[in-house]
């Protein structure tokens, strides 16, 4: 995996076939979190999933990450069925989950250690990632010395260090303030364009989804179902100006209307 050109992480393809998830509740009843989901993600595609809280979008991510078993159906990554966490997958969670007793540098190397790879080989890679996310010179700092945005950047580096073919992001900017969030969204676009791997991005922000994604998947309230699968045809790189384009507003309105008919948002 340590190639001469570490920027090109070949994106994987993801096939989700008739996947459902049923939780067994404590009272003995079953709770259906996902209705059968069918979804194919092409290599290098950036797919955003948007939906109301509790629609099962995080459940879908956990299933793809191999953190819990599907109730029925199959998930394939590059044709290989997901039964446990797939080595080509990196995950960024809602909170940074940095280990407070490790420096930024050692936090980023955690997946390398766990996979039993040679740490020394990845040191230049970590330096490179830190520079890319604007954290050059912060390697020896501890998480408690960083701001929320810097911590989440570190978490993104940690997910990218192993050069994952698929990056799963579970509302990664949900806990950040509005300004930091804006910057992170635009930086993520830049990074993804240089990396070119497959991304599945979970969010509850319609604007975030339309801005970042090649395709936006809209999910219905529980049990989660795909209500809309819309390809976003706005040129990249997208900037804050793109947000005022008629096309951008058109996509936003379309998604908003779906939420209105589902009763997630009220009509004005």
């Amino acid at each position: 995996m340590t190639s001469a050109a570490p920027h090109t992480m070949a994106g994987v393809n993801v096939t989700i076939k008739n996947v459902t998830k049923v939780y067994e509740m404590r009272d003995g009843n079953d709770l259906a979190a996902l209705d059968p989901i069918e979804l194919t993600i092409k290599p290098g595609e950036f797919v955003a999933v948007v939906g109301p809280s509790g629609c099962g979008k995080s459940t879908l991510l956990s299933l793809i990450a191999g953190l819990m078993p599907v109730s029925s159906g199959r998930i394939l990554i590059d044709g290989e069925e997901v039964k446990r966490p797939h080595p080509k997958v990196g995950v960024v969670f809602q909170t940074d989950l940095l280990l407070y007793w490790r420096t930024v540098f050692d936090n980023i190397l955690l997946p390398i250690e766990i996979k039993g790879w040679d740490r020394a080989k990845y040191r230049p890679r970590v330096e490179e990632l830190l520079e890319q996310v604007g954290l050059k010179g912060f390697g020896q700092k501890f998480p408690s010395e960083l701001s929320g945005g810097m911590r989440q950047r570190t978490a993104i580096c940690r997910a990218l260090v192993q050069e994952p073919g698929l990056l799963l992001m579970d509302e990664p900017f949900g806990a950040l303030d509005a300004l930091t969030r804006e910057q992170m969204i635009s930086d993520l676009q830049t990074m993804w364009r240089s990396v070119g791997n497959t991304v599945l991005f979970i969010t509850h922000s319609i604007e975030e989804a339309v801005f970042l994604a090649d395709r936006v998947i809209v999910m219905s309230p529980r049990p989660g179902r795909i209500d809309l699968d819309r390809t976003i045809e706005i040129e990249r790189p997208r900037s804050w100006k793109s947000r005022s384009e008629p096309k951008f507003i058109g996509y936003m309105t379309e998604i908003r209307e779906i939420f209105e008919t589902r009763g997630v948002l009220t009509k004005e």
Partner: protein, 264 residues
């Protein structure tokens, strides 16, 4: 403008000096009050010796105190080490086995409320007059706080952290050593620090009941000879042992555990 920060720094420095002198200063004031009050009230040294008499006595009888101190030290460190190992192992079983937790944890908490000092006379009956009952009492008093603090420490890990390392392909073993153990260490050391203090009590109580050496024994002997000054000297030695052990643990902790606050 330039003077402002300099003056401020000076003020901060002065405050730092006052703060660091506060504790020793208070001790000195209390000791001086004691020293002056005893002759003023006219107490004989058989009722209450002055601090200076106690210090002089420690100087005179330091060999006696030291040899008995070694005995107590051995009992409490031995008891503590047994408690540290078995306590952490018990905590691991409680954490990883649901059946074990269900079976043992309520029993442990119930036993915790039994005054263990009340077991001391029985221990002499069962274990004799040697080191065994003292070691056992020191162990018994340290064991519970170590188990409970370690269980709390092991449970303190965020569920999200576990998912994070699992998503990287970590097995149980790696999860334990990479995240669960480091996250538990501050609590475990908290338990150790309580445990070392209680094992001092255990060792001394053991010596009160039946012994022919140790600081507790020395104190009892002094009392029965109305030698109050020596009794106080023994108390000073017992306290010194406790403080030394506590400080030693803190040093180990500072090396082994990254404090959350340290980097702030």
């Amino acid at each position: 403008m330039a003077e402002q920060p300099a003056r401020k720094r000076k003020k901060n420095y002065a405050r730092l000096v006052v703060e660091s002198l506060a504790a020793p200063g208070l001790v000195i004031i209390l000791l001086l009050t004691w020293q002056i009050a005893v002759p003023l009230v006219g107490l004989s040294d058989f009722i209450l010796p002055t601090p200076w008499q106690i210090i002089r006595r420690i100087g005179v009888d330091y060999r006696l105190l030291l040899s008995n101190m070694m005995v107590t030290l051995f009992e409490l460190v031995g008891g503590f080490l047994i408690a540290a190992v078995t306590g952490v192992v018990t905590a691991l079983f409680i954490f990883y086995s649901r059946v074990f937790e269900r079976a043992i944890y309520p029993l442990l908490v119930a036993l915790q409320t039994v005054p263990k000092v009340a077991l001391a006379p029985l221990l002499v009956l069962y274990l004799g007059y040697g080191y065994a009952p003292k070691l056992f009492l020191a162990f018994l008093l340290a064991y519970f706080p170590i188990v409970i603090a370690s269980v709390v420490g092991l449970q303190s890990l965020d569920k999200g952290m576990v998912n994070l390392v699992r998503s990287m392909g970590a097995n149980e073993w790696q999860t334990f050593f990479k995240i669960r153990l480091p996250a538990a260490l501050p609590n475990v050391f908290g338990g150790f620090k309580v445990g070392i203090s209680t094992s001092v009590i255990g060792a001394v109580i053991g010596e009160y009941i039946a012994a022919d050496r140790g600081l507790g024994y020395l104190q009892l002997q002094a009392n029965s000879h109305f030698d109050t000054t020596l009794s106080f000297a023994a108390i000073v030695a017992i306290a010194a042992v406790g403080i030394m052990m506590f400080a030693l643990l803190e040093t180990v902790e500072r090396r082994a555990v990254f404090q959350r606050e340290a980097a702030k």
